[in-house]
C-alpha cells in the first residue's frame, strides 16, 4: 500500500513539476523592449529555470533545441503595478472580501498584508491578464496608518508562492480622505498631531530596541521602528499640495524614507518634491476628479517625469465600479498627455521596479533576472491591442 502510494506520488510529482520547473522558453519579438538599452528589432529572450538566460537580436542568438518558442509582435518586461489593493480587496465588494481597510482604529501599523491576501482573487487574475506580473499591494488608503504593504507576483495559489517582499511599506493617508467608518481625527492638524505623537513614541521604542534595552514587544511599534530605521518606507496617500508639504514636513522631522502616493496636485510643488528627493506613485491617470483629488490632471505623470522625479503607475483603490483599474490603461492616457510612449513603457516596468527597490529581480529583460514577460500584438498602450501572452518566473500563465 505504502509503496503504491509513494509510486503514485512520485509519478504525480514528475507530471506536475516537470513542465513547471524545467521549462526552457524562447520568446521572439518583432520589437523587444528590454528596458536595458534601446528596443531590439527582431529580438529573442531565452528563459531557463525561471530566469532570463540571454537577450539579444535573433541574428546573434540561436535558439537551442528543446526550447518552446513563443512569438509576439511586441515583447516587454512584465508590467509592475506600484500600488494596488487587489487580493486584500476582492471583486465582489462585499464585507467578506474587503480587507484593505480595518476601521477599528485610525493607526494600525501592525497589520500585515500577507495575512489577508487572497492569491486566487479574480482581480489578481484580471491584472495578470493585462500583462501585470508584479504588484505592490496591501492595506489601502483611508486610515492615518492602515497597515503594511507587500510585493507579490500575480501568480501562485498561496501568498507564500506569490511573495516577493513581505513588508514593503506602511500605508499612511493624509488630507481629508480618512474613511468615515473610522473614529478619525476631526481635522487635518489633529491627524498630523496623532501621527507625530505616535512617531515620537516609536523613536524611543526604536532606541531601546537598538540598544538591546529591556522592552516589551509591541507589534505596531515594531513596524514604526522599522520605518524610522529605514527598513521600510512610508507610502503616504495624499493629494492636495498643502497636504503633500505637510507629509514632507513630517518626513523631515522624523527622517524616514517616504513615497508620495496619489499626488493629484504634485505638479504645483515639483521643485519641493525634487529637493526632498521623494518619488511619486502617481494617481491613476483617469482618477475621478472629486474630493482631495479634484485637481488631478492627465498631465501629472508627464510633468513629474520630465522634472526628473521618480514616478510609477498605480491601479490604486476603487470603492465601487470598476473594482480595479489597470495600469496599462492609465499609462496609455499618460503617454498621450505629455509622458510619451517610450517613457510610459519605462515607468510601467524598470522605473516602477527601481521605485519599489526590486530592480535587481524585475523590471527589465536582462540575464539573471526573473523571467517575467508580457507579449502584445501591437503597441502595448493602444486600446485596441491585445496581450497575447504572459510569463511569470518562466511559466506561461496566459
Amino acid at each position: 500500500m505504502r509503496y503504491i502510494k509513494s509510486f503514485v506520488f512520485v509519478f504525480a510529482f514528475i507530471l506536475l513539476v516537470q513542465p513547471l520547473q524545467a521549462q526552457q522558453i524562447a520568446v521572439k519579438g518583432e520589437t523587444v523592449y528590454t528596458m536595458a538599452g534601446d528596443p531590439i528589432n527582431d529580438g529573442v529572450v531565452l528563459i531557463k529555470n525561471g530566469k532570463i538566460e540571454r537577450v539579444g537580436p535573433a541574428s546573434n542568438i540561436t535558439v537551442p533545441s528543446g526550447y518552446t518558442i513563443h512569438e509576439a509582435k511586441v515583447v516587454s518586461p512584465g508590467l509592475i503595478d506600484a500600488h494596488s489593493v487587489v487580493g486584500l480587496a476582492g471583486h465582489l465588494n462585499q464585507d467578506n472580501d474587503q480587507d484593505q481597510l480595518e476601521t477599528s482604529s485610525a493607526i494600525q501599523p501592525e497589520l500585515r498584508a500577507m495575512d489577508a491576501y487572497n492569491a486566487r482573487e479574480a482581480l489578481v487574475g484580471h491584472l495578470r491578464d493585462h500583462g501585470i506580473t508584479t504588484v505592490h499591494t496591501g492595506h489601502g488608503p483611508g486610515a492615518l496608518i492602515s497597515g503594511q504593504t507587500m510585493i507579490v507576483k500575480t501568480t501562485g495559489e498561496t501568498v507564500e508562492e506569490a511573495l516577493v517582499d513581505s513588508t514593503t511599506m506602511l500605508a499612511f493617508t493624509m488630507g481629508s480622505m480618512i474613511s468615515g467608518a473610522i473614529k478619525k481625527p476631526g481635522t487635518r492638524s489633529k491627524g498630523v498631531a496623532m501621527l507625530r505623537q505616535q512617531l515620537i513614541k516609536a523613536r524611543s521604542y526604536a532606541k531601546k530596541r537598538a540598544n538591546g534595552d529591556d522592552y516589551s514587544v509591541n507589534l505596531g511599534m515594531e513596524a514604526l521602528a522599522d520605518l524610522l530605521d529605514g527598513k521600510i518606507k512610508a507610502l503616504v496617500t495624499v493629494h492636495k499640495a498643502n497636504d503633500i508639504m505637510t507629509a514632507l514636513r513630517l518626513q523631515q522631522e522624523f527622517d524616514f524614507p517616504m513615497v508620495v502616493d496619489g499626488g493629484a496636485e504634485a505638479y504645483l510643488i515639483i521643485d519641493e518634491l525634487k529637493a526632498a528627493g521623494v518619488p511619486v506613485i502617481v494617481h491613476p491617470t483617469m482618477m475621478r476628479t472629486y474630493g482631495d483629488g479634484k485637481n488631478a490632471s492627465f498631465e501629472t505623470a508627464g510633468k513629474l517625469y520630465q522634472a526628473g522625479i521618480p514616478v510609477a503607475f498605480q491601479s490604486g483603490y476603487e470603492g465601487y465600479v470598476p473594482k480595479t483599474r489597470v495600469i496599462l490603461f492609465e499609462a496609455g492616457v499618460a503617454a498621450a498627455n505629455g509622458l510619451g510612449k517610450e517613457n510610459a513603457l519605462k515607468v510601467l516596468t524598470i522605473e516602477a521596479a527601481k521605485l519599489l527597490g526590486i530592480n535587481n529581480r524585475v523590471g527589465s529583460l536582462e540575464a539573471g533576472k526573473d523571467a517575467d514577460i508580457a507579449m502584445f500584438d501591437g503597441d502595448p498602450l493602444e486600446y485596441t491591442s491585445h496581450i497575447t501572452g504572459v510569463i511569470i518566473d518562466g511559466v506561461k500563465v496566459k
Partner: protein
C-alpha cells in the same frame, strides 16, 4: 403680449450664440483635407465638409466644389466624424426623485440642471455634442430624463433637444431594476416587489389614459391633472422612451417583459450580462446601451460584466449604443469606451455607430444628428488621428456650425487635461445615492 417677448428672447439668445463664436452663420464654413467618417457611408479620404446656417450642406471628396465666399479650414491629416451622442450621463449637476417614493414619474431633472456646469465643458472636450442626462438608479423610476445639445447656454431651455414639438417632450423616463432600487419601504425589498410596483403604476397610468380617451376632448370630463400620470401616458403612447438601468440577465428580461406588457419604447441601459441573453434581446427587438469598464466587479450585479458585450450583441443583431454614465466613466474619454469594445471583438463599424447614430436613434434625434449628411445639424468633431487610438485627441468640437470647444485655446484645453481648479462642479460619484451604475 407673450409672442413679441418670446421673439425678443429668441433673438437675444441667437445674438449671444453668435457673439460667443465670433462670426455669423451666414458664411459657409468648409473643412477640407481630413478623413471624413460620415457614419452613413464609408470614410472619405481627403474629404470636404461644408456647413452653413448651422446645418451640413455638403459631404464629399477632394473634388467637391467649395463656394467662393466660404471660410475654408485646412484640416489635412485630421479626422472628422459626427459629434458624439451619449445615451446615459450624469453631467450637469442635476437631481432626480427623493427618498419619499420609489417611483417619481413627475420629477424632471431639467428643473435642476446648471447650464453653466463645467461638466458640460468636460463633455465637449471629449467630443460629446448631444446627451441624455438622467437621474440616478436608486429608484425604480427616478424621473424624467433630458436630452440636451451642449450649446453654450445661459438657460437649460437653450440646450433642450425637443423630440415632440406638440407635447413638448425633450427626454425619456429613467427606470432601474436589480439591487440599486431595493431598500426599506417605500422602496421594494425584492425583485418581484420591484416589478409589481412598476406594474401597478402602469396599470394606474392606463386607467388615467382611458379616462382621457373617454373624455373625448371634453374638458369637463377630463380627470384631474396628474403630472406623473401625464408623463406615463406619454410613455404608454410610445412618445417617451423608457431608459431602464439593468445588469443581471434575469433583470434584463424582466425589463423587456414589462415593456412588452405595457407596449412602451425601451432602451436597455448598462446591460452588464447582455452576453448571456443576447439572442433574447435581439428577438425582443430592443436596443441596448452598454458601458465598457476597466474591470468587472465592484457590485454583485457587475461581477459578470464583459467588455465583449458589444460584440455579443452585435453578433446577435441588436442595435448597440455606448454611454459614459459619467462619472462612472469620464466624458473626456468616451471614444475610449468604444475602443475597449473593439479590443474585445466589436467591429469598427459597429463601434463607430455605437458612439453616434445608434445612440441618436435611441433618443429619436437621428433625423438631426448622428451622421454627417446633408441637412443634418452641423455637429462634428475634428480629431488629431484615428478615433480609437490612445494617442488621438479631440481638437475641436462644433455644434450647429459653431466651434464650441478648441484644444488650441488654453481656456478650453484645460477641460481636456484637468488641473488646478479646472473642475469646480460636482462629479456624480455614485457612492451616495445608492449607486447609479
Amino acid at each position: 403680449m407673450i409672442k413679441p417677448i418670446r421673439s425678443i428672447l429668441l433673438a437675444s439668445i441667437c445674438a449671444l450664440l453668435f457673439s460667443l463664436n465670433g462670426y455669423t452663420q451666414s458664411i459657409p464654413q468648409a473643412f477640407k483635407g481630413a478623413q471624413i467618417i460620415p457614419i452613413s457611408g464609408e470614410p472619405i479620404n481627403n474629404g470636404v465638409l461644408i456647413v452653413e446656417n448651422g446645418t451640413i450642406t455638403t459631404v464629399g471628396g477632394a473634388s467637391t466644389n467649395i463656394p467662393s465666399d466660404a471660410n475654408v479650414h485646412n484640416v489635412s491629416g485630421k479626422v472628422i466624424m459626427p459629434g458624439l451622442v451619449d445615451t446615459h450621463s450624469h453631467i450637469g449637476e442635476g437631481d432626480g426623485g427623493d427618498r419619499s417614493s420609489a417611483l417619481h414619474p413627475d420629477v424632471r431633472i431639467m428643473d435642476t440642471i446648471d447650464p453653466r456646469s463645467d461638466t458640460f465643458r468636460k463633455a465637449l472636450a471629449g467630443g460629446i455634442t448631444s446627451v441624455n442626462v438622467m437621474p440616478g438608479s436608486g429608484h425604480l423610476m427616478s424621473g424624467q430624463t433630458v436630452y440636451l445639445k451642449l450649446r453654450p447656454a445661459n438657460t437649460i431651455e437653450d440646450m433642450l433637444l425637443v423630440i415632440d414639438e406638440e407635447e413638448n417632450i425633450y427626454g425619456g423616463m429613467k427606470m432601474a431594476n436589480g439591487t440599486n432600487p431595493i431598500g426599506n419601504p417605500p422602496f421594494p425589498g425584492t425583485r418581484a416587489k420591484s416589478a409589481a410596483l412598476v406594474r401597478s403604476l402602469f396599470v394606474k397610468a392606463r386607467e388615467y389614459q382611458a379616462k382621457i380617451d373617454a373624455a373625448g376632448g371634453d374638458e369637463s370630463k377630463m380627470p384631474p391633472r396628474d403630472i406623473g400620470m401625464e408623463a406615463l401616458v406619454q410613455v404608454l403612447e410610445g412618445k417617451r422612451t423608457v431608459h431602464n438601468h439593468t445588469h443581471r440577465h434575469d433583470d434584463i428580461l424582466t425589463a423587456i417583459r414589462l415593456s412588452q406588457e405595457f407596449g412602451y419604447d425601451l432602451v436597455l441601459q448598462h446591460v452588464s450580462e447582455a452576453w448571456k441573453v443576447a439572442d433574447e434581446i435581439a428577438e425582443a427587438g430592443v436596443p441596448a446601451s452598454i458601458i465598457t469598464l476597466d474591470s468587472f466587479g465592484g457590485k454583485l450585479e457587475a461581477v459578470d460584466l464583459k467588455n465583449a458585450n458589444g460584440k455579443y450583441l452585435e453578433d446577435a443583431g441588436v442595435m448597440v449604443g455606448l454611454h459614459t454614465d459619467d462619472g462612472i466613466t469620464d466624458s473626456r474619454l468616451f471614444l475610449r469606451s468604444a475602443a475597449l469594445a473593439i479590443r474585445e471583438g466589436m467591429s469598427r463599424k459597429g463601434a463607430l455607430e455605437s458612439l453616434t447614430i445608434a445612440n441618436a436613434k435611441m433618443m429619436r434625434i437621428d433625423d438631426r444628428v448622428g451622421t454627417l449628411e446633408k441637412g443634418k445639424d452641423a455637429d462634428f468633431i475634428i480629431l488629431s488621428g484615428d478615433p480609437f487610438s490612445v494617442y488621438t485627441h479631440v481638437e475641436q468640437t462644433w455644434i450647429e456650425g459653431h466651434n464650441v470647444w478648441n484644444r488650441a485655446n488654453e481656456e478650453d484645453r484645460k477641460f481636456a487635461t484637468g488641473g488646478y481648479e479646472v473642475f469646480r462642479g460636482e462629479v456624480h460619484t455614485h457612492h451616495t445615492d445608492g449607486g447609479s451604475q
